[in-house]
């Protein structure tokens, strides 16, 4: 009888952010669907009320079904039967429950059977689902693919595929190949035009494909003969009913074991081109990736919430030396930091989601009608914010989820190491989060642009300018000092040249400094509205202060010549002693 939405006040807090009014008005195009669809809202209050009510259903299904099934799903996993992937029993049950409640295609327009939800509530649903079962969040979350189809595919493709999403047809994004992982420019799966049948034909191998046997597959393939880089790649949609893909195997993974990861062979598989040729990687996949990174952000926050709650509960119940272990400094510090980190990545998640909401809704509007200059500027501003926040979110949320899961086991002591408690599963599930949809290292590569073009600094200064109550002035002061410390460190790194190895070597440190500043500011802004975040704000700022000190000190004392010491080459030297 658990409800993972109702038991979490933080979600309601973020759902009622002042910007939501503007977001909803844009998304609902001044409520033009009212009267056309019986479930469309008539005004802001109505829409927000619908969001809450639907999230309550997500919370109930997650609490009563997904979370309950998670353990068995982890044990059972999917299997291949007659070249088809069969989900674990619980996975199938989860899928059917969400499908039967109409919870696929949440963000799609109503004319395609969707709920036309803004990103914020959609991401919130993803967070809730992830808290119940991190691995299942992949299968459900791949409805993201519909977003890419909606944005870039032809009307014909949209009409064919999009209405299926709400009916529960699942998706996959087929990008990775044995020799093309982080470097997707190396994709080799071949797409050739079949003049006789007027279709594209796909031939080749894809590897590590999440939900590999999905009904609707978005495939990145080389359509231009003789090319070797990203500009020769196009994007295709393949329908499972063609039965032209062989599932070679399902990977045996460390975590998210309920989510089937397949190796696929495309055998002359007929497919349709999405958008324009040659834009597959450089435009469409990049867009899809951004959505997927936001999804991993939600997944990370959901898992963090789950792991924190398990640890908190255990620490209250478990007694040693005659008292509950939560009363020992070594334990309560861990728990408080877990709580603070969860609040920090959650506020970063919804700040990112709001930015995406605004710019995508204006972008969508611009396709329907001429938009004002002001709106164009707003679109650009929020798009820039979304672009720099997305990699930062992916980086911090996934790393924190791992730290929180690690500490959750630590709080459990020996019991946490046993299969009897849920935290060991969460620990394994968390591990993929810093890897897929771009590793942490690649998020730094994406985020460093925000360091170099001053995007982060501008954002930080915008936050600094937001007025808050006096009680936060000390925290604010610490943040000003931290920001100055960051600026100096950046200056030093930059003095070696923006393309220097020195800069590159220290880029993660610089990006992380921005992250601490942004999360600190966001939490102060939250705490200014609700006291329930004051504690976490203080803890994150304290943590950020020492982290920034550490990074700044490192950069200040670092010399270009030191880099060589980090390059391990050749055989280990013999010890001469």
């Amino acid at each position: 009888m658990a409800n993972f939405f109702n038991d979490n006040e933080s979600l309601k807090f973020h759902l009622s952010h002042p910007l939501m009014k503007e977001i909803i008005e844009l998304k609902e195009d001044n409520y033009s669907d009212y009267g056309k669809y019986d479930y469309a809202p008539k005004d802001y209050e109505d829409a927000l009320d619908s969001y809450e009510k639907v999230l309550e259903v997500v919370g109930q299904i997650t609490g009563d079904i997904l979370a309950v099934n998670a353990e068995d799903v982890d044990k059972e996993g999917p299997k291949i039967v007659d070249n088809e992937i069969v989900y674990a029993k619980g996975t199938q049950q989860n899928h059917e429950a969400l499908r039967d409640s109409g919870l696929y295609g949440m963000s799609l327009p109503r004319k395609y059977g969707g709920l036309n939800f803004a990103y914020v509530p959609y991401v919130m649903a993803a967070e809730i689902v992830s808290r119940g079962d991190c691995g299942f969040a992949n299968i459900w979350g791949l409805q993201d693919c519909a977003e890419t189809l909606y944005e870039y595919a032809s009307e014909e493709i949209k009409d064919e595929f999009l209405p299926k999403i709400n009916q529960g047809y699942t998706c996959s994004m087929d990008l990775t190949e044995p020799d093309a992982g982080s470097d997707l420019q190396a994709v080799q799966l071949k797409a050739s035009w079949d003049e006789e049948n007027k279709v594209w034909r796909l031939n080749g191998v894809k590897r590590f494909i999440t939900n590999g046997d999905a009904d609707i597959k978005l495939v990145l393939a080389r359509s231009e003969d003789g090319t070797t880089d990203g500009r020769g790649l196009s994007y295709f949609v393949y329908d499972r009913k063609e039965k032209a893909v062989t599932i070679r195997r399902i990977e045996n993974k460390l975590g998210i074991k309920g989510s089937p990861t397949g190796e696929l062979v495309f055998n002359n598989a007929p497919a349709k081109l999405v958008g324009d040729r040659k834009l597959g990687l450089i435009k469409y996949v990049m867009s899809l990736m951004n959505g997927a990174r936001l999804g991993v952000g939600a997944q990370s926050v959901g898992l963090s919430e789950a792991a924190y709650r398990e640890a908190y509960k255990y620490a209250q119940e478990r007694e040693q030396f005659g008292k509950p272990i939560i009363q020992f400094a070594g334990v309560y510090e861990m728990l408080a930091n877990m709580r603070a980190k969860t609040d920090a990545i959650r506020t970063l998640l919804y700040e990112t989601a709001r930015s995406i909401d605004i710019y995508k809704a204006i972008d969508d509007k611009s396709k329907r009608e001429q938009i004002q200059v002001e709106e164009k500027q707003k679109l650009k501003k929020y798009q820039r914010t979304a672009d720099i926040l997305t990699p930062l979110l992916k980086l911090f949320s996934s790393e924190y989820a791992n730290q929180i899961a690690y500490d959750a086991i630590q709080v459990h002591g020996g019991s946490g190491f046993m299969k009897d408690y849920a935290v060991e599963r969460m620990y394994r599930d968390a591990r993929i989060l810093t890897i897929y949809e771009g590793t942490s290292q690649l998020q730094v590569v994406a985020a460093i642009r925000g360091v170099q073009n001053g995007g982060y600094l501008n954002l930080i200064k915008e936050y600094e300018a937001i007025e808050v109550k006096n009680e936060f002035s000390t925290m604010r002061k610490v943040l000003f000092e931290m920001r100055e410390r960051y600026e100096k460190a950046y200056e030093r790194a930059n003095s070696f040249g923006a393309n220097s190895e020195f800069f590159d070597f220290n880029s993660r440190r610089l990006v992380e400094m921005c992250g601490y500043l942004i999360m600190g500011h966001l939490l102060i802004i939250d705490a200014n509205k609700c006291d329930c975040f004051t504690n976490s704000a203080e803890l994150i700022i304290r943590m950020g202060q020492s982290k920034i000190e550490e990074a700044a000190t490192f950069i200040e004392n670092f010399e270009e010549s030191s880099i060589a010491k980090y390059k391990i080459e050749g055989e280990t030297k013999e010890c001469e002693a």
């Binding site: 009320d49 039967d100 409640s101």
Partner: protein
């Protein structure tokens, strides 16, 4: 051809989560202390109706409930899950009804609904646990009844085959229509709310509710499906003498507060031998078998 199912549902105090103030001094249920919920077996009944609707496309499901104004909540909940419309029988005159008066009221309402094929109800409500209202209603409607239903074996527009869950086994029976079915808790759980239906029907109200919420009635003109029907005793042509307390021969003679005390307990290991002994003991004392 259209097929019509009436689902009987009741709003009950949640007696599954009973706290110490669940009973008043005088031994009656303290409704204020317990949250009002959809009677669990009535949800099983709704699910069975929805399964029939999945098979017979032209099916209309009407949810019928009796109770105070707020009983309209169970109608809304049913709409969220797939019912087509709902009726609340609400009248001061029906307050205090026992099963005889309740079944009379319900039967009158069903007669007013008219051309029904099936009436499906939960086996019993958790506040009274009598399991009498379903069977009594069937008697008053002079239609066959199938109690303790667990599963639909087969259904078409002429007949229905039901698997019954009985104490000593199962039984499959068939009936023509009209027919009344009471559903056991072992039947399939009710499906969840549907997001679109939830958004569509969240503003469905009965006229009394609109009055309480000071909302205007024009809502119904614009969207007639948002109206939850409300019938009074006179709407269903009921004789006052058969309603409520007056129509209820059941009188509570005495209520005792029984506190169950733990008697002896036994420690058992999971060895085959211990379990074997336990089974023998349970069979010998007729708890099992």
């Amino acid at each position: 051809m259209s097929f019509r199912i009436v689902v009987l549902a009741k709003q009950v105090p949640d007696t599954r989560n009973v706290g110490k103030d669940a009973m008043k001094e005088d031994g009656t249920v303290n409704r204020a202390a317990l949250p009002a919920i959809f009677n669990p077996e009535d949800l099983n009944a709704l699910e069975m109706a929805l399964q029939i609707k999945d098979k017979i496309k032209e099916t209309t499901i009407t949810v019928l409930t009796m109770g105070p104004t707020r009983a309209a909540e169970v109608v809304r909940e049913s709409l969220y899950r797939g019912a087509d419309n709902g009726i609340v029988v609400s009248d001061r005159k029906v307050a205090g009804s026992d099963t005889l008066a309740t079944s009379y009221t319900i039967a009158q309402a069903i007669k007013k609904i008219g051309n029904y094929d099936l009436v499906i109800a939960g086996r019993q409500a958790i506040d009274g646990d009598t399991a009498q209202v379903g069977p009594q209603t069937a008697e008053k409607l002079s239609c066959p009844q199938i109690t303790y239903a667990e599963e639909i074996v087969d259904v078409n527009e002429k007949t229905i085959q039901i698997k019954r869950r009985l104490e000593r086994g199962i039984e499959v029976v068939e009936s023509t229509y009209p027919c009344l079915i009471t559903v056991h808790s072992s039947a399939k759980e009710c499906r969840n709310r549907h997001a679109k239906r939830l958004m569509k029907y969240k503003n469905a109200h009965s006229p009394s509710e609109l009055q309480e919420l000071s909302l205007d009635y024009t809502l119904f003109n614009e969207k007639p499906y948002l109206k939850i029907e409300e019938w009074s005793a006179s709407d269903i042509n009921a004789e006052d003498s058969r309603l409520g307390l007056t129509g209820s021969p059941t009188k509570v003679k005495k209520i005792e507060n029984v506190v169950l005390t733990q008697k002896e307990s036994k420690q058992l290991s999971s060895s085959n031998e211990d379990i074997d002994n336990l089974m023998k003991e349970l069979i010998a004392s007729h708890i099992l078998g």
